[in-house]
Point group: C2
Chain length 227, copies 2
Protein backbone atom coordinates (compact mmCIF):
# COMPACT_ATOMS: atom_id res chain seq x y z
CA UNK A 1 0.00 0.00 0.00
CA UNK A 2 2.90 2.31 0.80
CA UNK A 3 4.43 1.88 -2.67
CA UNK A 4 3.00 5.09 -4.06
CA UNK A 5 3.61 7.16 -0.92
CA UNK A 6 6.72 9.08 0.08
CA UNK A 7 8.79 7.28 2.75
CA UNK A 8 7.42 7.76 6.26
CA UNK A 9 10.35 8.73 8.46
CA UNK A 10 8.32 9.66 11.54
CA UNK A 11 8.37 7.96 14.93
CA UNK A 12 5.54 7.09 17.28
CA UNK A 13 6.08 8.71 20.68
CA UNK A 14 8.08 6.61 23.16
CA UNK A 15 5.63 6.76 26.02
CA UNK A 16 5.64 5.14 29.42
CA UNK A 17 3.92 2.08 28.02
CA UNK A 18 5.71 1.74 24.72
CA UNK A 19 9.30 2.48 25.73
CA UNK A 20 11.26 -0.73 25.09
CA UNK A 21 13.09 -1.51 28.33
CA UNK A 22 14.17 -5.13 27.96
CA UNK A 23 16.87 -5.32 25.25
CA UNK A 24 16.21 -1.77 24.02
CA UNK A 25 18.58 -2.36 21.07
CA UNK A 26 15.83 -4.57 19.66
CA UNK A 27 13.21 -1.85 19.88
CA UNK A 28 11.96 0.86 17.56
CA UNK A 29 9.18 3.41 17.44
CA UNK A 30 9.70 4.24 13.76
CA UNK A 31 6.52 4.23 11.71
CA UNK A 32 8.41 2.31 9.02
CA UNK A 33 9.37 -0.53 11.40
CA UNK A 34 5.96 -0.78 13.07
CA UNK A 35 4.11 -0.67 9.74
CA UNK A 36 6.40 -3.20 8.02
CA UNK A 37 5.62 -5.78 10.70
CA UNK A 38 1.90 -5.04 10.64
CA UNK A 39 1.88 -5.40 6.87
CA UNK A 40 3.83 -8.67 6.89
CA UNK A 41 1.87 -10.39 9.68
CA UNK A 42 -0.98 -12.54 8.45
CA UNK A 43 -3.03 -11.84 11.55
CA UNK A 44 -3.04 -9.83 14.73
CA UNK A 45 -4.22 -10.31 18.29
CA UNK A 46 -6.58 -7.66 19.61
CA UNK A 47 -6.66 -7.06 23.36
CA UNK A 48 -9.39 -5.20 25.20
CA UNK A 49 -11.00 -5.10 28.61
CA UNK A 50 -14.51 -6.23 29.55
CA UNK A 51 -15.56 -5.74 33.16
CA UNK A 52 -11.95 -5.28 34.16
CA UNK A 53 -10.82 -8.57 32.62
CA UNK A 54 -8.58 -8.98 29.56
CA UNK A 55 -9.67 -10.62 26.29
CA UNK A 56 -7.41 -11.45 23.37
CA UNK A 57 -8.92 -12.42 20.02
CA UNK A 58 -7.14 -13.23 16.76
CA UNK A 59 -8.30 -11.50 13.62
CA UNK A 60 -7.09 -10.23 10.26
CA UNK A 61 -6.24 -6.55 10.16
CA UNK A 62 -5.40 -4.05 7.48
CA UNK A 63 -3.68 -0.71 7.63
CA UNK A 64 -3.84 2.68 5.98
CA UNK A 65 -1.19 5.10 7.14
CA UNK A 66 -1.56 5.50 10.91
CA UNK A 67 -4.88 3.70 11.00
CA UNK A 68 -5.46 0.02 11.54
CA UNK A 69 -8.73 -1.72 10.71
CA UNK A 70 -10.35 -5.02 11.57
CA UNK A 71 -13.83 -6.40 11.08
CA UNK A 72 -16.31 -9.03 12.11
CA UNK A 73 -19.95 -9.83 12.52
CA UNK A 74 -22.06 -6.88 13.61
CA UNK A 75 -23.43 -9.25 16.26
CA UNK A 76 -19.98 -10.04 17.71
CA UNK A 77 -19.74 -9.15 21.36
CA UNK A 78 -15.98 -8.79 20.95
CA UNK A 79 -16.29 -6.09 18.32
CA UNK A 80 -18.94 -4.33 20.36
CA UNK A 81 -16.74 -4.54 23.45
CA UNK A 82 -13.83 -2.90 21.64
CA UNK A 83 -15.87 0.04 20.28
CA UNK A 84 -14.76 3.37 21.77
CA UNK A 85 -12.45 1.50 24.12
CA UNK A 86 -8.68 1.44 24.53
CA UNK A 87 -7.24 -1.40 22.53
CA UNK A 88 -3.81 -3.01 22.26
CA UNK A 89 -3.30 -4.70 18.91
CA UNK A 90 -0.23 -6.89 18.55
CA UNK A 91 1.23 -8.47 15.40
CA UNK A 92 3.92 -11.11 15.85
CA UNK A 93 5.91 -13.18 13.40
CA UNK A 94 8.13 -15.93 14.74
CA UNK A 95 11.16 -16.36 12.51
CA UNK A 96 12.99 -19.12 14.34
CA UNK A 97 14.26 -20.76 17.49
CA UNK A 98 17.66 -19.60 18.75
CA UNK A 99 19.51 -22.44 20.43
CA UNK A 100 22.39 -21.44 22.67
CA UNK A 101 24.83 -23.38 24.87
CA UNK A 102 22.87 -22.53 28.01
CA UNK A 103 19.11 -22.59 28.63
CA UNK A 104 19.38 -18.96 29.70
CA UNK A 105 20.67 -17.76 26.33
CA UNK A 106 18.06 -19.56 24.27
CA UNK A 107 15.84 -17.12 22.44
CA UNK A 108 13.52 -16.62 19.55
CA UNK A 109 13.98 -14.65 16.36
CA UNK A 110 10.85 -12.62 15.88
CA UNK A 111 9.27 -9.41 14.70
CA UNK A 112 6.47 -7.92 16.75
CA UNK A 113 4.55 -4.66 16.76
CA UNK A 114 2.33 -3.52 19.62
CA UNK A 115 0.02 -0.62 18.84
CA UNK A 116 -2.34 1.30 21.11
CA UNK A 117 -5.33 3.46 20.42
CA UNK A 118 -9.08 3.75 20.76
CA UNK A 119 -11.24 1.70 18.40
CA UNK A 120 -14.05 3.46 16.55
CA UNK A 121 -16.87 1.90 14.60
CA UNK A 122 -17.01 2.90 10.94
CA UNK A 123 -20.76 3.56 10.59
CA UNK A 124 -21.01 5.25 7.24
CA UNK A 125 -22.08 2.58 4.76
CA UNK A 126 -19.95 3.92 1.94
CA UNK A 127 -16.89 4.35 4.13
CA UNK A 128 -17.39 0.85 5.50
CA UNK A 129 -17.72 -0.66 2.03
CA UNK A 130 -14.60 1.20 0.87
CA UNK A 131 -12.68 -0.12 3.86
CA UNK A 132 -13.77 -3.69 3.13
CA UNK A 133 -12.76 -3.28 -0.50
CA UNK A 134 -9.29 -2.19 0.56
CA UNK A 135 -9.11 -5.18 2.93
CA UNK A 136 -9.85 -7.62 0.12
CA UNK A 137 -7.75 -5.89 -2.53
CA UNK A 138 -4.74 -5.42 -0.22
CA UNK A 139 -4.66 -9.17 0.33
CA UNK A 140 -5.66 -10.24 -3.18
CA UNK A 141 -5.06 -7.44 -5.69
CA UNK A 142 -8.02 -6.84 -7.97
CA UNK A 143 -10.25 -9.44 -6.35
CA UNK A 144 -13.05 -7.14 -5.15
CA UNK A 145 -14.25 -6.29 -8.66
CA UNK A 146 -14.33 -9.96 -9.64
CA UNK A 147 -16.65 -10.91 -6.76
CA UNK A 148 -20.40 -11.14 -6.58
CA UNK A 149 -21.17 -7.62 -5.23
CA UNK A 150 -21.81 -7.21 -1.51
CA UNK A 151 -25.49 -6.78 -0.69
CA UNK A 152 -26.85 -4.02 1.53
CA UNK A 153 -27.75 -6.71 4.09
CA UNK A 154 -24.21 -8.09 4.10
CA UNK A 155 -22.72 -4.65 4.63
CA UNK A 156 -25.16 -4.14 7.51
CA UNK A 157 -24.22 -7.47 9.06
CA UNK A 158 -20.51 -6.56 9.03
CA UNK A 159 -18.87 -4.25 11.54
CA UNK A 160 -15.62 -2.51 10.76
CA UNK A 161 -13.45 -1.03 13.50
CA UNK A 162 -10.87 1.63 12.75
CA UNK A 163 -8.20 2.75 15.17
CA UNK A 164 -5.76 5.61 14.94
CA UNK A 165 -2.40 4.38 16.21
CA UNK A 166 -1.61 6.71 19.11
CA UNK A 167 1.40 4.85 20.45
CA UNK A 168 3.38 1.94 19.10
CA UNK A 169 6.58 -0.01 19.40
CA UNK A 170 8.27 -2.64 17.29
CA UNK A 171 10.65 -5.24 18.60
CA UNK A 172 12.88 -7.40 16.45
CA UNK A 173 15.44 -10.07 17.21
CA UNK A 174 17.40 -11.79 14.52
CA UNK A 175 20.71 -13.51 14.10
CA UNK A 176 22.58 -16.29 15.87
CA UNK A 177 22.74 -16.96 19.63
CA UNK A 178 24.72 -14.33 21.52
CA UNK A 179 26.91 -16.69 23.47
CA UNK A 180 29.96 -17.20 21.26
CA UNK A 181 32.07 -16.83 24.44
CA UNK A 182 30.72 -20.22 25.47
CA UNK A 183 31.45 -21.91 22.13
CA UNK A 184 33.70 -24.45 23.87
CA UNK A 185 30.67 -26.06 25.52
CA UNK A 186 30.17 -29.09 23.27
CA UNK A 187 26.55 -28.73 22.19
CA UNK A 188 25.00 -27.76 18.88
CA UNK A 189 24.05 -24.08 18.78
CA UNK A 190 22.44 -22.04 16.05
CA UNK A 191 19.11 -21.06 14.63
CA UNK A 192 16.21 -23.27 13.54
CA UNK A 193 14.50 -20.88 11.12
CA UNK A 194 10.73 -21.01 10.67
CA UNK A 195 9.21 -20.30 7.31
CA UNK A 196 5.51 -19.68 6.71
CA UNK A 197 4.30 -19.77 3.14
CA UNK A 198 1.33 -20.31 0.90
CA UNK A 199 1.31 -23.80 -0.56
CA UNK A 200 -0.57 -25.02 -3.67
CA UNK A 201 -4.17 -23.78 -3.69
CA UNK A 202 -7.16 -26.08 -3.24
CA UNK A 203 -9.95 -25.16 -5.68
CA UNK A 204 -13.43 -25.30 -4.16
CA UNK A 205 -15.30 -28.56 -4.85
CA UNK A 206 -17.55 -27.98 -7.83
CA UNK A 207 -15.54 -25.06 -9.19
CA UNK A 208 -16.72 -24.92 -12.83
CA UNK A 209 -14.30 -26.02 -15.52
CA UNK A 210 -12.40 -23.22 -17.13
CA UNK A 211 -12.12 -21.00 -14.03
CA UNK A 212 -8.40 -20.70 -13.54
CA UNK A 213 -6.48 -19.27 -10.60
CA UNK A 214 -6.07 -15.54 -11.31
CA UNK A 215 -2.57 -14.36 -12.11
CA UNK A 216 -2.48 -12.13 -9.01
CA UNK A 217 -3.09 -15.10 -6.72
CA UNK A 218 -0.51 -17.19 -8.57
CA UNK A 219 1.97 -14.36 -8.05
CA UNK A 220 1.15 -14.08 -4.36
CA UNK A 221 1.73 -17.81 -3.88
CA UNK A 222 5.00 -17.56 -5.84
CA UNK A 223 6.19 -14.55 -3.85
CA UNK A 224 6.81 -16.43 -0.60
CA UNK A 225 4.82 -13.75 1.25
CA UNK A 226 1.65 -14.42 3.19
CA UNK A 227 0.14 -11.11 2.15
Amino acid sequence: MADHCPPDTKDYPATERTRVRRSPERGSHAHADVHAIMDAAPLCHVGYVINGAPYVTPTLHWREGDYVYWHGSAASRFLRAAEDMPVCLTCSIMDGYVLARSAFNHSVNYRSAMVFGTARLVDDVEEKTDALRRFVDDLFPGRWDSLRPMTRQEVKATSVLRMKIDEASAKIRNGPPGDSDEADHPVWAGVLPIESRLVPPQPAPGLPDGIELPQSLAELIQSGRLR
Copy 2:
Protein backbone atom coordinates in the same frame (compact mmCIF):
# COMPACT_ATOMS: atom_id res chain seq x y z
CA MET B 1 3.66 -34.62 26.77
CA ALA B 2 0.24 -36.26 26.86
CA ASP B 3 1.59 -39.46 25.27
CA HIS B 4 1.97 -41.31 28.53
CA CYS B 5 -1.31 -40.10 30.05
CA PRO B 6 -4.79 -41.57 29.68
CA PRO B 7 -6.96 -39.59 27.25
CA ASP B 8 -8.46 -36.47 28.79
CA THR B 9 -12.17 -36.49 27.92
CA LYS B 10 -13.18 -33.61 30.19
CA ASP B 11 -14.55 -30.24 29.14
CA TYR B 12 -13.79 -26.77 30.43
CA PRO B 13 -16.96 -25.07 31.65
CA ALA B 14 -18.88 -23.09 29.00
CA THR B 15 -19.14 -19.84 30.90
CA GLU B 16 -20.56 -16.48 29.95
CA ARG B 17 -17.20 -15.45 28.53
CA THR B 18 -16.16 -18.66 26.83
CA ARG B 19 -19.43 -19.81 25.27
CA VAL B 20 -18.89 -19.74 21.50
CA ARG B 21 -21.73 -17.68 20.05
CA ARG B 22 -20.60 -16.84 16.53
CA SER B 23 -20.58 -20.05 14.43
CA PRO B 24 -20.97 -22.31 17.51
CA GLU B 25 -20.42 -25.39 15.31
CA ARG B 26 -16.77 -24.28 15.17
CA GLY B 27 -16.41 -24.16 18.94
CA SER B 28 -15.35 -26.62 21.62
CA HIS B 29 -14.61 -26.61 25.33
CA ALA B 30 -13.04 -30.07 25.31
CA HIS B 31 -9.70 -30.25 27.08
CA ALA B 32 -8.41 -32.34 24.18
CA ASP B 33 -9.24 -29.65 21.59
CA VAL B 34 -7.95 -26.73 23.65
CA HIS B 35 -4.74 -28.53 24.58
CA ALA B 36 -4.04 -29.77 21.05
CA ILE B 37 -4.06 -26.19 19.76
CA MET B 38 -1.92 -24.91 22.64
CA ASP B 39 0.58 -27.69 22.03
CA ALA B 40 0.76 -27.09 18.28
CA ALA B 41 1.06 -23.29 18.40
CA PRO B 42 4.61 -22.02 18.38
CA LEU B 43 3.71 -19.00 20.48
CA CYS B 44 0.84 -17.41 22.34
CA HIS B 45 -0.39 -13.90 23.04
CA VAL B 46 -0.88 -13.02 26.68
CA GLY B 47 -3.41 -10.32 27.54
CA TYR B 48 -3.61 -8.51 30.86
CA VAL B 49 -4.73 -5.19 32.23
CA ILE B 50 -2.55 -2.41 33.62
CA ASN B 51 -4.35 0.66 34.99
CA GLY B 52 -7.49 -0.37 33.19
CA ALA B 53 -5.80 -0.60 29.78
CA PRO B 54 -5.17 -3.79 27.80
CA TYR B 55 -1.71 -5.13 26.91
CA VAL B 56 -0.98 -8.03 24.59
CA THR B 57 2.50 -9.55 24.47
CA PRO B 58 3.73 -12.52 22.43
CA THR B 59 5.68 -15.20 24.22
CA LEU B 60 6.42 -18.92 24.14
CA HIS B 61 4.30 -21.02 26.46
CA TRP B 62 4.32 -24.59 27.65
CA ARG B 63 1.63 -26.73 29.21
CA GLU B 64 1.25 -29.43 31.78
CA GLY B 65 -2.27 -30.77 32.15
CA ASP B 66 -4.55 -27.86 33.02
CA TYR B 67 -1.65 -25.52 33.69
CA VAL B 68 0.01 -23.20 31.22
CA TYR B 69 3.42 -21.63 31.83
CA TRP B 70 5.40 -18.77 30.35
CA HIS B 71 8.56 -16.99 31.37
CA GLY B 72 10.68 -13.92 30.98
CA SER B 73 13.13 -11.63 32.64
CA ALA B 74 12.50 -11.17 36.36
CA ALA B 75 12.79 -7.45 35.61
CA SER B 76 10.03 -7.50 32.99
CA ARG B 77 7.19 -5.14 33.86
CA PHE B 78 4.87 -7.30 31.76
CA LEU B 79 5.50 -10.41 33.82
CA ARG B 80 5.17 -8.42 37.03
CA ALA B 81 1.93 -6.89 35.77
CA ALA B 82 0.43 -10.33 35.07
CA GLU B 83 1.29 -11.78 38.50
CA ASP B 84 -1.83 -12.60 40.54
CA MET B 85 -3.95 -10.96 37.87
CA PRO B 86 -6.60 -12.29 35.51
CA VAL B 87 -5.04 -13.22 32.22
CA CYS B 88 -6.36 -14.24 28.82
CA LEU B 89 -3.85 -16.32 26.88
CA THR B 90 -4.65 -16.99 23.24
CA CYS B 91 -2.94 -19.39 20.82
CA SER B 92 -3.79 -19.05 17.13
CA ILE B 93 -2.64 -20.92 14.07
CA MET B 94 -3.68 -19.64 10.68
CA ASP B 95 -4.06 -22.53 8.24
CA GLY B 96 -5.17 -20.69 5.13
CA TYR B 97 -7.21 -18.07 3.35
CA VAL B 98 -10.70 -19.10 2.26
CA LEU B 99 -11.69 -17.36 -0.97
CA ALA B 100 -15.38 -17.33 -1.77
CA ARG B 101 -17.48 -15.85 -4.58
CA SER B 102 -18.54 -12.90 -2.43
CA ALA B 103 -16.46 -10.74 -0.09
CA PHE B 104 -18.91 -11.62 2.68
CA ASN B 105 -18.18 -15.34 2.50
CA HIS B 106 -14.41 -15.00 2.53
CA SER B 107 -12.94 -16.52 5.64
CA VAL B 108 -9.85 -17.97 7.22
CA ASN B 109 -9.04 -21.54 8.17
CA TYR B 110 -7.61 -21.43 11.66
CA ARG B 111 -7.31 -23.08 15.03
CA SER B 112 -7.42 -20.91 18.12
CA ALA B 113 -7.62 -21.50 21.85
CA MET B 114 -8.47 -18.80 24.36
CA VAL B 115 -7.77 -19.66 27.98
CA PHE B 116 -8.51 -17.71 31.15
CA GLY B 117 -7.11 -17.88 34.63
CA THR B 118 -5.03 -16.07 37.22
CA ALA B 119 -1.26 -16.05 36.74
CA ARG B 120 0.93 -17.02 39.69
CA LEU B 121 4.65 -16.60 40.06
CA VAL B 122 6.59 -19.84 40.58
CA ASP B 123 8.94 -18.74 43.39
CA ASP B 124 10.41 -22.00 44.54
CA VAL B 125 13.84 -22.26 42.91
CA GLU B 126 13.63 -26.01 42.37
CA GLU B 127 10.09 -25.84 41.01
CA LYS B 128 11.11 -22.99 38.71
CA THR B 129 14.16 -24.86 37.43
CA ASP B 130 12.04 -27.97 36.83
CA ALA B 131 9.51 -25.92 34.89
CA LEU B 132 12.26 -24.42 32.71
CA ARG B 133 13.69 -27.87 32.09
CA ARG B 134 10.29 -29.08 30.87
CA PHE B 135 10.03 -25.98 28.66
CA VAL B 136 13.35 -26.75 26.96
CA ASP B 137 12.85 -30.52 26.76
CA ASP B 138 9.26 -30.26 25.48
CA LEU B 139 10.54 -28.19 22.55
CA PHE B 140 13.84 -30.00 22.02
CA PRO B 141 13.78 -33.47 23.61
CA GLY B 142 16.84 -34.22 25.71
CA ARG B 143 18.42 -30.81 25.21
CA TRP B 144 18.48 -29.65 28.84
CA ASP B 145 21.05 -32.22 29.92
CA SER B 146 23.33 -31.33 27.03
CA LEU B 147 23.47 -27.64 27.99
CA ARG B 148 25.88 -25.72 30.17
CA PRO B 149 23.97 -25.90 33.50
CA MET B 150 21.90 -22.92 34.57
CA THR B 151 23.57 -20.82 37.25
CA ARG B 152 21.84 -19.71 40.43
CA GLN B 153 22.03 -16.12 39.15
CA GLU B 154 20.35 -17.08 35.87
CA VAL B 155 17.52 -18.85 37.67
CA LYS B 156 17.10 -15.76 39.85
CA ALA B 157 17.00 -13.48 36.81
CA THR B 158 14.22 -15.56 35.23
CA SER B 159 10.58 -15.36 36.25
CA VAL B 160 8.19 -18.19 35.49
CA LEU B 161 4.43 -17.68 35.55
CA ARG B 162 2.04 -20.58 35.95
CA MET B 163 -1.68 -20.38 35.38
CA LYS B 164 -4.38 -22.91 36.07
CA ILE B 165 -6.78 -22.86 33.15
CA ASP B 166 -10.14 -22.00 34.75
CA GLU B 167 -12.10 -21.46 31.55
CA ALA B 168 -11.25 -22.09 27.92
CA SER B 169 -12.63 -22.41 24.46
CA ALA B 170 -11.26 -23.64 21.17
CA LYS B 171 -12.45 -22.51 17.78
CA ILE B 172 -11.60 -24.20 14.52
CA ARG B 173 -12.53 -23.55 10.93
CA ASN B 174 -11.37 -25.74 8.11
CA GLY B 175 -12.48 -26.80 4.67
CA PRO B 176 -13.57 -24.99 1.50
CA PRO B 177 -15.71 -21.84 1.23
CA GLY B 178 -19.33 -22.41 2.23
CA ASP B 179 -20.92 -20.82 -0.81
CA SER B 180 -21.30 -23.68 -3.30
CA ASP B 181 -24.79 -22.28 -4.02
CA GLU B 182 -23.05 -19.38 -5.74
CA ALA B 183 -20.71 -21.55 -7.81
CA ASP B 184 -22.11 -20.07 -11.02
CA HIS B 185 -20.47 -16.72 -10.26
CA PRO B 186 -17.40 -16.90 -12.49
CA VAL B 187 -14.55 -16.30 -10.06
CA TRP B 188 -11.92 -18.63 -8.66
CA ALA B 189 -12.88 -19.93 -5.20
CA GLY B 190 -11.06 -22.25 -2.86
CA VAL B 191 -8.44 -22.31 -0.16
CA LEU B 192 -4.92 -20.89 -0.18
CA PRO B 193 -3.37 -23.07 2.52
CA ILE B 194 -0.59 -21.70 4.73
CA GLU B 195 2.17 -23.96 5.93
CA SER B 196 4.67 -23.08 8.65
CA ARG B 197 7.69 -25.27 9.00
CA LEU B 198 11.24 -25.46 10.21
CA VAL B 199 13.71 -25.04 7.37
CA PRO B 200 17.39 -26.08 7.30
CA PRO B 201 19.18 -25.05 10.49
CA GLN B 202 21.86 -22.36 10.61
CA PRO B 203 24.77 -23.41 12.84
CA ALA B 204 26.14 -20.62 15.02
CA PRO B 205 29.23 -18.90 13.59
CA GLY B 206 32.28 -20.47 15.19
CA LEU B 207 30.53 -23.73 16.08
CA PRO B 208 33.50 -26.08 16.58
CA ASP B 209 34.07 -28.77 13.96
CA GLY B 210 32.61 -32.12 14.84
CA ILE B 211 29.53 -30.81 16.65
CA GLU B 212 26.67 -32.22 14.63
CA LEU B 213 22.98 -31.41 14.83
CA PRO B 214 21.50 -33.80 17.42
CA GLN B 215 19.22 -36.50 16.08
CA SER B 216 16.25 -35.12 18.05
CA LEU B 217 16.54 -31.75 16.32
CA ALA B 218 16.93 -33.41 12.93
CA GLU B 219 13.75 -35.36 13.65
CA LEU B 220 11.87 -32.24 14.71
CA ILE B 221 12.86 -30.47 11.49
CA GLN B 222 11.86 -33.54 9.48
CA SER B 223 8.51 -33.86 11.24
CA GLY B 224 6.93 -30.78 9.69
CA ARG B 225 5.87 -29.65 13.17
CA LEU B 226 7.02 -26.43 14.82
CA ARG B 227 7.17 -28.03 18.24
